[in-house]
């Protein structure tokens, strides 16, 4: 078999990087008064090509490149496609909703694309230093995006909070990496897996697991590392929240799956109960807090925390079913969450930091299209059958029940009943007759442009496909699970390291 050129292993990342660089340089060299909007189309085109390139990678044999640091497998392709898809939709959404007078539009598009590079790389990396670098690439872009609207309101506050807490969490992760390197003398995940399996109770391994979990759980905004979420969602512009609430999370969950099931499968008995507890805490705290929110963006932030909890429930599942369920859930969640933030952006505007539930009263009357879409996405978030949200929960809790965590499933489903209360409050406010019908109809209905229309169409189609014919996507997620669980191709266990675990076991033949 011909070896695959290394560059093909990171083709989507290469395309995205080139796009980002091109957008940034063009932005800098264009005269200031020229419109920057076409750059957004260039970025969207780049994301489309990257998506296509990820799909093309299916034709490659599974394997690693660049000295065993980057992997291409069904698992990485699943997440690459997902992230590129989210970025594409977020770009389309921004194209029509960014204020035309913004001077930094070019930067915006470039940052989104660079963020995507980091997230894609994060899902493909099988070497911890590369994981760290990828995480930083994605984080730094998102920190800047969160504070993109720096002149007004709580934008800067949100960005600073996100940045400080985020750096702190990344430091935890890095500390964990250092510990495991100290224990095993390697940063290659397959090698760590083998070495850690031979000495699961080594204190450095345990410390490393704990520290890495903290770092990752922060990124997925699971309780008790969730404090930043509502503030960031409130302060960041709505199109950015559409991106922030989905793509980095998908990447972080991919990393969590890799750490849990590929790096530390031998510590399953340790991390499974931990994640069990975090799952219960996240959904309960998230839902209870969301119940009290009047600000729609904060409400959806708490709902995101709760969804992280449902997703973590899938980790109670055994091997393949758990991984597949979690991957599927991320896809479903991304589809509906991007969709709902797109609708919110259109209804309450790019700048609105405090869209209140009461402001949504009568949306269905002002704009039947947006009102129906809002209700549709909320219904999916509730988890009603025939929408993606249902099968997401369904697979997650099936996995949990299959893994023997019946109680987790019961708590989760009761929580989704609780969650219905606040989603419904918003949906029903939208359906209610406006207090002053004449004034409401006099307000202009929000305009839906071509780009944002395409974004909404993609989100609706994805949510419906995941809810009515989830077979294909689940199949892909299962393929990813298999590839993650498959024994890695060829591992050369280093015999030369003398510290830590390597001493306690003879080198493999």
């Amino acid at each position: 078999m011909n070896p695959v050129p290394d560059i093909f292993r990171i083709l989507p990342e290469v395309i995205l990087t080139l796009t980002g660089v091109a957008v940034m340089l063009t932005d800098a060299s264009l005269p200031p008064h020229w419109a920057r909007r076409p750059l957004g189309w260039v970025a969207a085109l780049g994301a489309t090509f990257a998506l296509w390139a990820s799909l093309w990678q299916l034709s490659l044999p599974q394997g690693t490149g660049f000295y065993g640091t980057v992997e291409t497998s069904a698992f990485t392709i699943f997440f690459h496609v997902l992230i590129c898809g989210i970025v594409l939709v977020a770009l389309l959404l921004s194209l029509d909703t960014l204020p035309a007078d913004s001077h930094h539009q070019g930067e915006f598009y470039a940052l989104v694309v660079f963020g995507a590079v980091g997230m894609c790389l994060l899902t493909g990396a099988v070497e911890l230093l590369l994981v760290f670098i990828a995480l930083e690439i994605s984080s730094i872009s998102t920190y800047v995006l969160a504070g993109y609207r720096k002149q007004t309101g709580c934008g800067p506050e949100a960005a600073i909070k996100y940045f400080l807490l985020g750096s702190f969490a990344t430091a935890f992760l890095l500390y964990g990496v250092a510990m495991i390197f100290g224990a095993t003398g390697t940063t290659q995940i397959y090698e760590i897996a083998q070495l850690a399996a031979s000495a699961p109770n080594h204190s450095l391994v345990l410390a490393s697991l704990a520290l890495m979990l903290v770092g990752i759980l922060f990124k997925v905004s699971a309780v008790p590392f969730h404090i930043w979420t509502p503030d960031v969602y409130e302060g960041a512009p709505s199109p950015v929240v559409a991106l922030l609430s989905t793509a980095p999370k998908a990447a972080a969950f991919a990393l969590l799956l890799r750490v849990a099931y590929e790096m530390f499968p031998s510590l399953h008995s340790l991390w499974a109960p931990l994640l069990w507890i975090v799952a219960v805490l996240s959904m309960t705290v998230g839902n209870l807090a969301a119940l009290r929110q009047q600000n729609v963006k904060r409400m959806l932030a708490y709902s995101a925390i709760a969804h992280a909890g449902y997703l973590l429930a899938a980790f109670a599942g055994l091997g393949n079913s758990g991984i597949a369920a979690a991957s599927f859930y991320i896809a479903a969640y991304a589809a509906m969450n991007v969709g709902i933030f797109a609708v919110i952006t259109l209804i309450s505007g790019y700048n609105d930091e405090r869209p209140l539930v009461a402001d949504f009263r009568g949306v269905l009357y002002r704009s039947p299209l947006l009102g129906s879409l809002l209700i549709f996405f909320l219904v999916s978030l509730v988890g009603i059958p025939f929408t993606g949200g249902f099968f997401g929960k369904f697979y997650a809790f099936t996995a949990a029940v299959g893994g023997g965590a019946v109680w987790l499933a019961i708590i989760g489903l009761l929580n989704s009943g609780l969650a219905a209360a606040y989603y419904l409050r918003l949906a029903l406010a939208a359906a209610q007759r406006p207090a002053d019908a004449a004034a409401a109809t006099a307000l202009p209905a929000p305009q839906v442009g071509i780009a944002v229309g395409a974004a909404l169409l993609l989100a609706v189609l994805a949510t419906l496909v995941l809810g009515i014919v989830p077979g294909e996507v689940l199949h892909a997620a299962e393929g990813g699970a298999h590839s993650l669980q498959a024994p890695p191709p060829s591992i050369k266990v280093p015999g030369g390291f003398v510290r830590g675990l390597a001493v306690e076991q003879p080198p493999a033949p």
Binding site: L364, Y365, P368, S372, I375, V379, V382, I384, P385, F386, F390, F394, F397, T398, V401, G402, V406, A409, I410, L413, L414, S416, G417, L418, A420, A421, L424, R425, A427, L428, A429, A431, Q432, R433, V469, P470, G471, L474, H475, E478
Partner: protein
């Protein structure tokens, strides 16, 4: 003809949905949505009539079956079919749809598109519940049926729609969480969601009895809230007060009672037998409680709501008496209740449209001005009371006599007391609205009796009340094939104490 038999249920299921899509795509101009909805629902009703016309009486089990794989993992099948139990419920749902459309013809003045599209989606969901033989498919439709209902209550609520809608939604959504966990547990144990397969496995003792207790309880709880059974009826009165007439007609009773028969008693006969004494007690209490509350209501929607609680409790009594006669009567009474309550709702809706109040005290002496309304109202009331020769009598008689002979004389006597109270509040309602001196309200408005369209809605219902009262055997023959089918294959291994298995199907796979 064979080809039609093999696909008729799919047509019935999809036609309202197609109508909904058509309504959503066409412009909201004048009465266009009304006409599309009317034609769709009439066509669907026509299709449902195909079922009794080609139903083979001598044959037990399910007919018109379709069994296609839908989702590979988990194994969910598009498995639909009807037997004697669901046959007429499907037809009743089909009949009430055009009646609901006509009853809303003028009452719905704005956002007709949304109303009729959601109304048709609701029809699909109801058909789906009655014909699904795959538990997951069934659950999907069960949940789906909540959404249009909640949105429409919020949109067209008379006073505080959203509050009633949330109450309705949460009351039914939260109990379905344990139901879903129960389904997932069954699947994890058996690998099947198929009704007939599960029925065989459960009756042959393939599952541990201790866990089945909880599973059966989860089923029962979800259904009991939906019926509603005392004391879980908190949502009923508000929903009846706020819901548009066309939806209030279809909401109560049918889905929950049918599900009790098919999925609680049908799947868990042993557990149902254990639960029966409690349910009988609750049913009788509910009958008396509902009747007493109906006596003191000042608002006719609330009066009808508590009357419904009383009547639905009677049907619950018939179901959990666990006698064949009781089941015959219960199924028949579900049909009666649909027809009678439908007619009463339409009539009260007409009164409300004309006089804009639901306070009984404001009415009086309308019989002289609205003779046709009065006549039809009296007929419907008498049918509800259970006057011989009208349909209510047949069902009530079967249920009460089966309780008297098969369950306990004292419960039967208590239940009869509830029936007598029923006569009291209905006749008093008739007297207060239509007889006595003309109230100010009645004199203030010109006489405006039923129009042709309204008569066209009510006349068939009135005729049905008479025919169903005079010739119940037309319906009873096919109901009986569902209620006591020929013995199940392999049933000889059952312990002698076990119930004969009602409502069973043939194992397909």
């Amino acid at each position: 003809m064979n080809a039609i038999n093999e696909s008729i249920l799919t047509w019935i299921l999809l036609l309202p949905l197609a109508g909904a899509v058509l309504v959503a795509l066409m412009p909201d101009r004048g009465k266009l949505p009304n006409w599309i909805a009317l034609l769709t629902s009439l066509a669907t009703f026509g299709f449902t009539l195909h079922l009794p016309a080609h139903f083979l009486l001598g044959q037990g089990g399910f007919q018109f079956q379709i069994d296609l794989p839908w989702i590979e993992n988990p194994a969910i099948f598009y498995h639909v079919g009807v037997d004697g139990l669901s046959l007429w419920l499907v037809v009743l749902t089909g009949l009430l749809a055009p009646i609901g459309v006509l009853a809303s013809w003028n009452a719905i003045k704005e956002r007709r598109k949304v109303f009729f599209a959601l109304f048709l989606v609701q029809q699909t969901a109801m058909f789906g519940v009655f014909i699904s033989l795959d538990l997951m498919l069934y659950y999907g439709f069960w949940e789906l049926s909540l959404v249009p209902m909640a949105i429409l209550i919020a949109m067209y609520g008379r006073k505080d729609g959203p509050k009633a809608a949330i109450k309705f939604f949460l009351f039914t959504f939260i109990p379905s969480a344990p139901l879903l966990v129960a389904l997932l547990w069954l699947y994890a144990r058996t690998g099947s969601f198929d009704f007939a397969t599960l029925q065989i496995l459960i009756t042959h003792g393939a599952l541990p009895a201790g866990a089945l207790f909880w599973v059966a309880l989860a089923f029962l709880f979800a259904f009991a809230v939906k019926v509603p059974v005392f004391p879980l009826h908190g949502w009923l009165a508000d929903t009846f007060t706020e819901a548009p007439v066309a939806l209030a007609m279809v909401v109560a009773g049918k889905l929950g009672l049918y599900s009790m028969l098919r999925f609680h008693i049908g799947l868990f006969p042993v557990q149902a037998r254990a639960a029966a004494p409690y349910l009988i007690a609750l049913a009788v209490v509910g009958m008396l409680y509902g009747a007493c509350l109906a006596l003191v209501q000042r608002d006719f929607w609330r009066l009808i709501a508590f009357a419904a609680l009383s009547h639905l409790s009677l049907i619950t009594l018939g179901i959990y008496g666990l006698t064949f006669t009781g089941w015959d009567g219960a199924v028949y009474q579900i049909l009666n209740h649909g027809v009678i309550d439908g007619a009463l709702f339409v009539l009260l809706g007409f009164l409300y449209d004309r006089y804009q109040t639901s306070q009984i005290g404001d009415y009086g002496g309308l019989a002289g001005k609205l003779p046709r309304t009065a006549t039809l109202f009296v007929i419907a009331s008498l049918a509800m009371i259970g006057l011989p020769m009208l349909n209510g009598f047949v069902g009530e008689f079967l249920i009460l006599s089966s309780t008297f002979t098969g369950v306990s004389k004292s419960w039967a006597i208590a239940a009869s007391l509830g029936v007598i109270l029923g006569a009291a509040y209905m006749l008093w309602l008739v007297q207060r609205i239509f007889y006595g001196p003309e109230s100010n309200l009645a004199t203030s408005k010109p006489a405006d009796d039923l129009h042709f369209r309204e008569l066209a809605v009510l006349a068939p219902l009135a005729v049905l009340m008479l025919v169903m009262g005079l010739a119940p055997s037309l319906w009873m023959q096919s109901i009986e094939t569902g209620v006591h089918p020929p013995p199940l294959k392999g049933s000889s291994v059952l312990p002698a104490s076990a119930l004969p298995i009602p409502f069973h199907g043939e194992v397909q796979r």
